[in-house]
């Protein structure tokens, strides 16, 4: 037994699963602007009303998350009682979007705060629970909303503040996946099965940057640390992955990430993709540096990346959502922006 436990740990901070858990379904609920973007036609639901018929932005975000949870259960043909644990979080204080959103589902819950890296963290913990035999099925979920995030981290929309060009645009949307034990998974189509082969858990990386309007530059070093450690830990080169997909570095962060890796003689310029760049058309949509937020990587993964894997376009990807771990308190007190990135190895078999 001890032998088996040990064999899952790879290198410094990575895991390769004994029975790679299966992602049975993914859901994506997107806001209006996201729906008008290049990935618009791929999302399950486009929520045209930013308030979703609610009174506040926070309630609206909760409602979007509830829709994502309901949708993923429907797509997987499962009921809420089939899910052992829900692992998820969002950007708001005390995770109010998540806790108010999923309360009615009655699923035992772990709340996470990983800022925009939350989808990666939730998928990592979810697959650890499943491969470890602690759960047969886990739902990993996250959300973000442009208006609630602006209100918490920058300025409320009522204030009418101008946004600098390096500022990213928080995605309104929620994505969820259901992760199932490979031993109980029943394959029921000819499509490839999508599995989580392994994960690399990120460390806090802080290069001393303080600009909350330029998150891409703050987060790039965290992505750099996690990606280079992943390659080292499981002893592969970047071409092992068809795509290395960061969460929300945007144009500014992408440059920095590719340069940092080049200094270590790692070249990902050919197979790097950033969800924040994919989700909006920066020329037509005036989104400046790209998209960000928990929802950005989550819905890009569930709508686009999973589709590419299912259709056989890609065989294996490294999904690396990135998070900036500042709070409104730390920011107002002039502290730096610590960042994190979690890597999830996703494979079509």
């Amino acid at each position: 037994m001890a032998e088996e436990m040990k064999s899952k740990m790879m290198g410094k901070q990575s895991i390769l699963f004994s029975n790679p858990p299966v992602i049975v379904a993914g859901s994506s609920i997107a806001g209006k602007k996201e729906g008008e973007g290049p990935l618009g036609h791929l999302f399950d639901t486009i929520q045209e009303d930013p308030m979703v018929g609610k009174e506040t932005w926070e309630e609206a975000e909760s409602e979007i998350m509830k829709e994502a949870a309901t949708k993923v259960l429907e797509k997987a043909g499962l009921k809420n009682t089939d899910i052992r644990y829900l692992v998820g979080g969002d950007l708001l204080g005390q995770l109010i979007a998540t806790y108010f959103g999923i309360a009615d589902l009655n699923i035992p819950t772990f709340g996470l705060y990983g800022a925009c890296s939350t989808m990666g963290e939730a998928m990592a913990i979810g697959s650890i629970l499943v491969d470890g035999g602690f759960a047969d099925r886990v739902m990993a979920i996250t959300s973000s909303h442009f208006a609630s995030a602006e209100k918490q981290f920058r300025f409320p929309l009522d204030y009418g503040n101008q946004r600098p060009f390096s500022a990213t645009w928080t995605v309104t949307g929620s994505g969820a996946v259901i992760i199932e034990d490979a031993r109980i998974h029943k394959k029921n189509s000819n499509e490839p099965t999508i599995v989580i082969k392994g994960v690399t858990v990120g460390k806090i990386v802080d290069y001393g940057l303080k600009d909350s309007m330029n998150m891409g530059a703050c987060m790039a070093p965290a992505a750099f640390e996690t990606i280079s450690t992943n390659l080292e830990d499981i002893n592969v080169t970047p071409d092992y992955y068809d795509k290395i997909i960061t969460g929300d570095l945007g144009y500014v962060g992408q440059h920095i990430l590719i340069d940092l890796l080049k200094e270590k003689n790692i070249d990902i310029s050919q197979n790097h993709m950033d969800c924040g760049i994919e989700i909006f058309d920066k020329d037509k949509q005036d989104t400046h540096a790209g998209g960000s937020g928990c929802g950005c990587s989550a819905i890009t993964f569930t709508a686009y990346v999973m589709k590419q894997l299912k259709e056989g376009q890609w065989k294996r990807v490294l999904f690396v959502p990135t998070g900036a771990l500042l709070s409104q308190v730390s920011f107002n007190e002039g502290r730096t922006v610590p960042c994190i990135a979690h890597a999830v190895i996703v494979e079509a078999i």
């Binding site: 930013p50 929309l157 503040n161 600009d211």
Partner: protein, 118 residues
């Protein structure tokens, strides 16, 4: 002519502020404080009052005008009441402006809600 002057002077002050917002890392709150303090200092050295007389609303409406009003209020109150005027003057002279801002934004909030940026 008054309108044109007010438009050009007010616009020029706003353009300077836009340059500050675009080219520096100063947060909007800091820029507003800079404007108020500048107005107060220019008022204290006797520059703002003649400038405001010439430019009218172009100098009175931007936040520099508010800074000038604060200084003017403190000065008048100190002349009249002495030491206590330091604490009272600014509020007395700016009371109409501050109350109007509060009352009109409250009334506006009855009719309008914040909307998503698109």
């Amino acid at each position: 002519m008054d309108y044109l002057k007010a438009f050009l002077v007010g616009g020029a002050i706003c353009a300077v502020v836009q340059i500050l917002l675009d080219t520096t890392k100063l947060m909007p709150g800091r820029v507003m404080v800079i404007l108020v303090v500048t107005g107060a200092i220019l008022g204290a050295i006797g520059v703002y009052e003649p400038f405001a007389k010439w430019a009218g609303a172009g100098a009175g409406v931007p936040l520099t005008g508010f800074g000038n009003v604060l200084f003017k209020g403190v000065k008048e109150a100190v002349d009249k009441e002495g030491f206590l005027g330091i604490f009272k003057g600014g509020f007395t002279s700016s009371s109409a402006g501050i109350s109007a801002a509060l009352i009109f934004s409250y009334i506006a909030s009855w009719f309008f809600d914040a909307k998503m940026k698109s």
